[in-house]
């Protein structure tokens, strides 16, 4: 088992002929992901790498392939439309990799996706991977190994760092999810923790948060009240100054809210393990298995 992504996931790529889309489609196919189609308006009828059929619209792609998952690599100004299109076509898992989507666009997208009953991951995220089975997005496959640790994070390379440490220490992963660094994203920590709690394969969870917002605090409350599985958390940005956007659009301390200290406190209050350094995950998780 795993969360969100398994062997039955059939995937289309929106923006398959673009620079990033084509590169990562090849990587996903190589990893074993079931890529059943691509969408690039105006290139319908062509084939990607002589094998993957390209469609003009997501509706066409879904009708022809029955895809249940879509991954989006279109430029930021078109990303909102691409998400809406996927949700409207009945895609159930939508993974938006694109960085730089205007936040106001997401205020229209989020309720629409919810109403359609779809799950959106991202935007501004590395996607997700169920090691040995499938990956959707850009997480490098070779740093992961199958196992029973669930990983969820707001970051890309920090996730890779921790997953790499886990893999080296023999701690394989059930699913790794990058939920993205934007202020409004489709899936939050709590959604992932609930899914990991329900997943029989997952035995413990590593969670990498950062400054800004209250998502981590809400997640900590959920851990305290609703979870039996151990969760170890980390917060990036302990040295970040208030009021500055630290790369991720969502990584900003507003006034006195969203600080690393307040998030770490909420982890402690929930009885979670608190990793002070990325490397600390290994020992803290081992001690809780």
């Amino acid at each position: 088992m795993s969360i969100f992504l398994d062997k039955n996931s059939t995937v289309i790529v929106q923006g398959i002929t673009g620079r990033d889309g084509s590169f990562h489609t090849k990587q996903m196919i190589e990893y074993g992901t079931k890529i059943v189609g691509g969408v690039t308006p105006g290139k319908g009828g062509q084939k990607f790498e002589n094998t993957v059929p390209i469609f003009n619209t997501v509706a066409d792609a879904v009708a022809a392939t029955g895809a249940n998952t879509s991954v989006i690599y279109v430029p930021p100004m078109y990303a909102a439309d691409a998400i809406l299109e996927a949700a409207d076509a009945g895609v159930k898992l939508i993974v938006a990799i694109t960085e730089g989507v205007p936040v106001l666009d997401m205020t229209r997208v989020y309720p629409f996706v919810k109403e359609k009953g779809a799950r959106l991951i991202g935007p501004n995220c590395p996607g997700l991977i169920t090691p040995g089975v499938s990956k959707v997005g850009i997480i490098p496959g070779r740093i992961c190994t199958p196992g029973n640790i669930g990983v969820v994070s707001r970051s890309g390379t920090l996730t890779y760092e921790v997953v790499y440490q886990l893999t080296r220490a023999g701690l394989g992963q059930s699913t790794c999810v990058g939920i993205g660094g934007d202020p409004i994203n489709g899936t939050n920590f709590l959604d992932c923790l609930a899914a990991f709690e329900a997943d029989p394969q997952t035995k413990a969870i590593a969670m990498m948060g950062e400054i800004g917002g209250t998502d981590e605090q809400d997640a900590a409350l959920f851990v305290k009240n609703n979870m039996k599985k151990p969760v170890v958390g980390f917060i990036a940005g302990q040295t970040a100054p208030p009021g500055r956007r630290m790369g991720h659009a969502g990584a900003i301390i507003s006034g006195s809210s969203g600080t690393a200290a307040e998030k770490i406190q909420s982890f402690q209050d929930a009885g979670m393990g608190v990793a002070k350094r990325p490397i600390d995950f290994v020992e803290l998780i081992k001690a809780r298995l």
Binding site: V103, L104, P111, S155, G181, F234, T239, A240, M246, G247
Partner: protein, 388 residues
């Protein structure tokens, strides 16, 4: 992106919000001339991207043009939170009967723009929220529908009793919402929204923050950026497509990815050092980015050691290695450099670095510890630069 008060007021004026006249000046003489023209008591307000202008002495009343000139001289010499004041806004002083707060923020929790209004205006709204939350009305807006008239009316009634003032305020809510959406704001506020003794409702101060992600499709908004009001290193970084934030420490950090960049800064602190900056070179591995990153970091005289932390996923570590070699050939480093690389093409990267006299580690903790030690015991010589 921050814009100045006078720019935010211009936007709101164009939407129809009643705002007293005002003019921008950059010399005391200009301020004197403007005050003379108004022929009344004026307020001179520092235009700088920092909160707490009033407390810092950046907002003052002047009864005469001569006094306005003197005050302007003092304000234009100020640094507020490290930023020099280069412009002031001169506006006739208004008679105030009451002060209210009106703001819209893009709220993460509700995933909507949220109106926040309070009859207790003119002061820090966070303080009102903490001490007297009942004095604030919060109203999330579904952007698919926009601000409906009944909602604008509800906000107006929360602020005022007089129906004429309620109607005036409701209209201002619509205008503020329209400005918020048109300009791609993450925050727009009028504080204070005042009533005058004659009963008029007027906006005396305005603030807007634009979502950086909007700037590509709103060139008119992007054109309002005042680069002279920002730290020069941050302007240079933005023009080189790097995300850079200057801090006070002495370990210069170059990292790929925002989360790892923050975690690296934190680790510097963990091992007893102080990061000199946040710098994310992003996902692409263009060697040019590395060259620009090193230029910006080495321009900071506080930097005593440079730390690279690269986890190659999409980023190819050999590209980063080539960037380091190119950059240091162009302008040799005067401070030691510690390099941590792992991931995509790590072996090739290590070879490139070794052939050019650099050593590198694949362990993050080891590299950070070393950079902190070197910054502390820094001896600035060319051999130190190579020997790290």
């Amino acid at each position: 992106m921050n814009i100045h008060e006078y720019q935010a007021k211009e936007i709101l004026r164009n939407e129809g919000v009643p705002i007293p006249p005002g003019e921008v000046a950059s010399t005391p003489e200009q301020v004197e001339a403007i005050a003379k023209k108004y022929g009344t008591t004026v307020v001179v307000k520092a235009q700088v991207h920092a909160g707490g202008r009033g407390k810092a002495g950046g907002v003052k009343l002047a009864k005469t043009p001569a006094e306005a000139k003197e005050i302007a001289k003092a304000i234009l010499a100020l640094h507020i939170k490290g930023l020099p004041v280069q412009k002031v806004l001169v506006t006739p002083a208004a008679d105030i009967a009451s002060e209210a707060y009106v703001g819209i923020i893009l709220d993460r929790a509700s995933k909507k723009p949220v109106f926040m209004v309070s009859p207790a205006g003119g002061i820090d709204i966070e303080e009102v929220a903490a001490k007297t939350p009942e004095k604030i009305l919060k109203l999330p807006i579904d952007t698919r529908y926009g601000l409906e008239p009944y909602q604008a009316s509800r906000l107006g009634f929360f602020l005022f009793n007089d129906v004429k003032q309620v109607r005036a305020a409701s209209k201002i809510m619509q205008q503020l919402y329209s400005a918020f959406m048109k300009n791609g704001c993450s925050l727009a506020e009028i504080n204070p929204l005042v009533t005058t003794p004659a009963g008029d409702v007027v906006a005396l101060d305005a603030k807007m923050v634009i979502d950086d992600n909007e700037l590509d499709r709103r060139t008119d908004v992007a054109a309002m950026r005042d680069e002279s009001a920002e730290a020069p290193s941050e302007v240079a970084a933005r023009n080189a497509n790097l995300t850079f934030i200057k801090l006070d420490g002495d370990v210069g950090c170059v990292v790929n990815g925002a989360g790892l960049a923050m975690a690296t800064m934190d680790l510097v602190k963990y091992y007893g050092g102080d990061p000199a900056n946040f710098l994310d070179i992003g996902g692409s591995s263009n060697p040019e980015k590395v060259v620009n990153a090193l230029k910006i970091i080495t321009a900071d005289p506080n930097v005593k050691a440079i730390l690279f932390n690269i986890f190659g996923g999409i980023t190819r570590t050999d590209d980063v290695a080539n960037g380091i070699v190119t950059a240091t050939k162009q302008s040799p480093l005067k401070v030691p450099i510690v390099i941590r690389l792992t991931g995509t093409n790590e072996e090739i990267a290590m070879k490139i670095l070794q052939e050019n006299g650099f050593s590198a580690s694949s362990d993050m903790d080891e590299a950070v510890k070393k950079a902190v030690e070197l910054a502390k015991s820094s001896v600035v010589t060319p051999s130190a630069a190579r020997g790290a």
